[in-house]
Amino acid sequence: MEELINKLKKEVIQQLNLEDISAEDIDADAPLFGEGLGLDSIDALELIVLLEKNYGIKIEDPKDGKKIFFSIRTMAEYITEHQKH
């Protein structure tokens, strides 16, 4: 799980073009949206693309994103649960 979390941090930084931020700066349990990184609805859609492109997981309803993308850890847990092998 920790390996996936670190990988995800780097992928999120790249996908969302968070230029000034490194993986160490992101707390795995901190909320991604609202406070902190200040991500918005377009970022949520970008994360949906990330999940599909890198992990083969399709999210049909963007409203599900709220729970899945709450933090890096919740993303990692969702991927572990749903990833096609």
Partner: protein, 353 residues
């Protein structure tokens, strides 16, 4: 009603951003196209949390808009009107590059950024400006239509300080595609040798210019915009000349009252001959200048020319690098900018002190 240019922000292939100098240093290039000299950092202008998803053209647009507002001492304009011929080429290409694939993973960001009105609306978002907002996208009429809309608003009394912009970008990919259509020189060229070429194809360029156009004169005012006219496919040069005379008569002027004509020759000999002919027929013996060797050809390049005209009037100085002849006129009160695109989209901008 008079319209004053009270603030300007220009990012161009010359050193025009973040400097009070007026073409004291000229950039010469040996290149496929002229690329903008961008600010060393956009952080002073745009919050990094927002700029991270912006492509180059949007950063340039927002930054030059902010520069012009600061120059004018205006915080929120009464209207924002932008002209762009091609919008965000980079974002459009990102999408087009994958569209033929079976599984294009379309990211939402480039799609949103590819809409032509994105620059105008992102400026409004940053300034929280709910006022009139529009975007014109018609080749070398794009900037002129924006100016026309602004002048109408001043006449209508619906706005006093209007942010008007002209922005276009070039990418290597787009250059290569449009080279197939015969628009550009087939090989890299030296921009400062433009007058010596005698071949088809222009020198491509890009730029982002914003102006605060106002009903009020202030101590920051550069010049007045008296007229903007677009002329579509005039049947022959005689028709164009007549439209010029009409424009000048509307301001109780004749060609003799023009102290400088700035011409849009771009290095394509099929095109440039028209400018020389126009100048010869209408303005023999008056100072003539050109500008696209400095910024290249792009749909909103007349915005660069307007920056030139405004500064020439304010500083009463014609930079030697733009001169086509050595005729002097002092003072320089009235300047005509003339641009055209393949003999279809002709425009005049009349600027005065």
């Amino acid at each position: 009603m008079p319209a004053f240019i009270n603030g300007i922000g220009l990012i161009s292939p010359q050193r025009t951003a973040e400097t009070p100098d007026f073409l004291t240093e000229i950039e010469g290039y040996f290149s496929d196209y002229l690329k903008c000299i961008e600010p060393s950092s956009y952080k002073p202008y745009i919050d990094p949390i927002l700029s991270r998803r912006m492509s180059r053209i949007i950063k340039m647009g927002i930054t030059s808009a902010k520069m012009s507002l600061a120059d004018a001492g205006v915080s929120i304009p009464d209207a924002i009107i932008t002209g762009t011929g091609l919008g965000s080429v980079e974002d459009t290409e990102k999408i087009l590059g994958t569209i033929h694939l079976d599984q294009p993973f379309l990211n939402p960001t480039p799609f949103i950024q590819s809409t032509y009105n994105t620059i105008s609306s992102q400026i409004a978002i940053l300034l929280k400006c709910h006022q009139y907002n529009s975007t014109y996208v018609h080749r070398t009429f794009s900037f002129e239509s924006s100016l026309q809309d602004a002048l109408l608003q001043i006449d209508e009394g619906t706005a006093s300080d209007i942010l008007v912009g002209g922005i276009d970008e070039m990418t290597m990919n787009h250059l290569q595609i449009t080279r197939r259509a015969g628009h550009w020189k087939p090989e890299p060229v030296n921009n400062l040798e433009m007058l010596a070429w005698d071949s088809p194809g222009a020198l491509a360029g890009e730029g982002s210019a914003f102006f605060v156009v106002s009903s009020r004169k202030t101590d920051r005012s550069y010049a007045r915009i008296l007229e903007v006219r677009t002329i579509y496919k005039p049947a022959d040069p005689g028709v164009l000349n007549k439209r010029l005379i009409d424009l000048l008569s509307a301001q109780s002027m004749t060609p003799a009252d023009i102290d400088l004509v700035i011409l849009g020759m771009n290095g394509d000999n099929r095109n440039d001959i028209r400018y020389f002919q126009f100048a010869e027929e209408n303005f023999p013996g008056i100072p003539q200048a050109y500008y696209k060797h400095l910024c290249g050809e792009y749909h909103t390049s007349s915005a660069f020319a307007l920056w030139l005209a405004a500064n020439i009037i304010k500083k009463q100085l014609i930079p030697p690098i733009i001169r086509l002849n050595s005729t002097e006129r002092k003072p320089i009160r009235n300047i005509l900018v003339y641009n055209q695109y393949y003999n279809a989209d002709h425009s005049f901008i009349l600027v005065a002190g």
